[in-house]
């Protein structure tokens, strides 16, 4: 089988991918040496990125850990031990491993895409469609959710709590599985396993499994968690939201534009929507939400029923 990815191009793609790479003059010379080189490089670089993306979604095997790691590091979804709380509050926003200089990078998902990110500490973040999550290579135990939603599966480490920031709301895990969802006016945190300390510098609300909190402005309101992460199976659960928010959530999840007309956008809705069923049969949204559904080429409009 012929290799379509050129050896030299691949070598340059690997070398330039290293943050300490310095031979830009050498790289420029190679690029200029042959008109085929620039596109060979782009292809090699793109293929490597694709491969990396797939590998990042695969779980880390326990055997694939550095030889000199002092902690045996099993990924645990167990109950957190009470003694860790004090340490969690003191340590704040996570460890800085490679020096103070921040090295932020963004995970951005298209609407309809679900991506799992494996972090180097063994934690995993499942990012929902239409979302933006900021991570930082210099701060392994930290994430900032800027848009959309994500499910966090955090590897327990009592000496280094995992902190998530979601639009001004801060929370610290203590070895947990929990979900954060950003809506237009509010942020929701729900815990499936372990415990999360919400707003550790302020309200210090502790969430145990099955508990959730909705933060809207300065108000924190507790509610039952319901099914955490059900969106991964295509079930979107809404608890007293507006039809407009349902439309936004469907857009992010399905990858098709769903908009609510002014007439119906602020109507309240609570219930569960099976995204796959609705994608096959958009009209079924109508009776479910009490609206009319007008579908066109690339968007659905939710409007007042005749």
């Amino acid at each position: 089988m012929t290799r379509s990815i050129d050896d030299d191009a691949l070598e340059w793609a690997i070398r330039t991918g290293d943050p300490e790479f310095d031979d830009w003059d050498g790289f420029t010379s190679w690029l200029e040496a042959d008109p085929a080189h620039p596109s060979q490089f782009e292809i090699a670089s793109g293929v490597l990125e694709d491969a990396g993306r797939i590998v990042a979604t695969l779980p880390l095997r326990h055997s694939a850990e550095p030889a000199n790691d002092p902690k045996p590091g099993r990924r645990r979804f167990l109950q957190w031990s009470g003694g860790a709380v004090a340490a969690a509050i003191l340590l704040g926003t996570g460890l800085s491993l490679w020096g103070a200089r921040p090295q932020p990078y963004m995970i951005e998902t298209a609407a309809g895409e679900v991506r799992t990110v494996a972090l180097s500490d063994g934690s995993e973040i499942v990012v929902a469609g239409g979302s933006r999550l900021m991570l930082d290579r210099s701060k392994v135990r930290f994430a900032a959710l800027e848009q959309g939603g994500a499910l966090f599966v955090v590897k327990h480490d009592a000496s280094a709590p995992f902190t998530v920031q979601a639009k001004g709301l801060s929370m610290t895990d203590l070895g947990t599985v929990f979900e954060v969802q950003l809506e237009k006016g509010s942020t929701r945190v729900a815990v499936s396993d372990g415990a999360v300390l919400v707003d550790p510098e302020g309200a210090r609300l502790r969430l145990d499994p099955g508990q959730a909190v909705v933060a809207s402005g300065a108000v924190l309101r507790r509610e039952p968690a319901g099914e955490v992460g059900a969106w991964r199976e295509g079930r979107l659960i809404f608890n007293d939201v507006t039809i407009g928010e349902v439309a936004d959530a469907l857009t992010r999840h399905l990858g098709i534009e769903v908009v609510a007309s002014e007439a119906v956008a602020s109507r309240p809705f609570s219930g569960t929507i099976d995204a796959a069923g609705v994608a096959k049969d958009p009209a079924s949204l109508g009776p479910l939400l009490g609206v009319g559904v007008r579908t066109s080429d690339r968007r659905w409009v939710l409007q007042a029923d005749r």
Partner: protein, 171 residues
């Protein structure tokens, strides 16, 4: 020795090397867009909050390289999207969700990649992850794993070659 740079210092390096950066962007295939891209590069870099930069010229080159990578990714995604939108179901209705075959395809692909990682072995997998996903310098990975830098380089070369070949096969 770390040479720390204020924003004015970085700007001086940028201005002094702007021509080199334009040449690099052209070498990468930017063509006539190179001038616009270097301006965009400066805009992004200057509005990005960051601490002292150890090697400012390298930092600017890297930012230029990333810009080209983003551009290429956008073009590819647009092409993929166009292909997706032109698919339709049996009634001629445009398909908006990945069809069952795509989902199965993606799962099969993931399974083949997992099998490759198994064959590559724990250390090579770790090197690939630390370098390509976590962005750790090879020099530091070598320290982490207690091996030489050339071992890390070799591991990375082997892992990337095998994974790249697989991805190309499946295209």
């Amino acid at each position: 020795m770390i040479d720390s740079m204020s924003k004015a210092g970085l700007e001086a390096v940028y201005l002094a090397n702007r021509d080199k950066l334009v040449r690099f962007l052209k070498a990468r295939g930017a063509g006539d867009a190179a001038e616009d891209l270097v301006n965009e590069l400066w805009f992004r870099v200057s509005t990005n909050r960051s601490g002292p930069i150890a090697n400012p010229l390298s930092y600017l080159y890297r930012a230029a390289n990333m810009l080209m990578i983003d551009r290429y990714r956008s073009t590819r995604q647009a092409e993929l999207r166009d292909r997706e939108w032109s698919r339709a179901d049996e009634n001629g209705q445009p398909l908006s969700l990945p069809s069952v075959d795509r989902i199965v395809e993606a799962r099969q692909e993931a399974a083949r990649v997992a099998a490759i990682l198994e064959e590559l072995g724990a250390r090579r997998e770790m090197v690939f992850r630390r370098s390509r996903i976590d962005g750790v310098p090879q020099r530091l990975i070598a320290e982490e794993l207690g091996v030489s830098v050339s071992t890390v380089e070799n591991d990375l070369r082997v892992a990337c070659r095998v994974l790249a070949d697989l991805k190309e096969q499946m295209r």
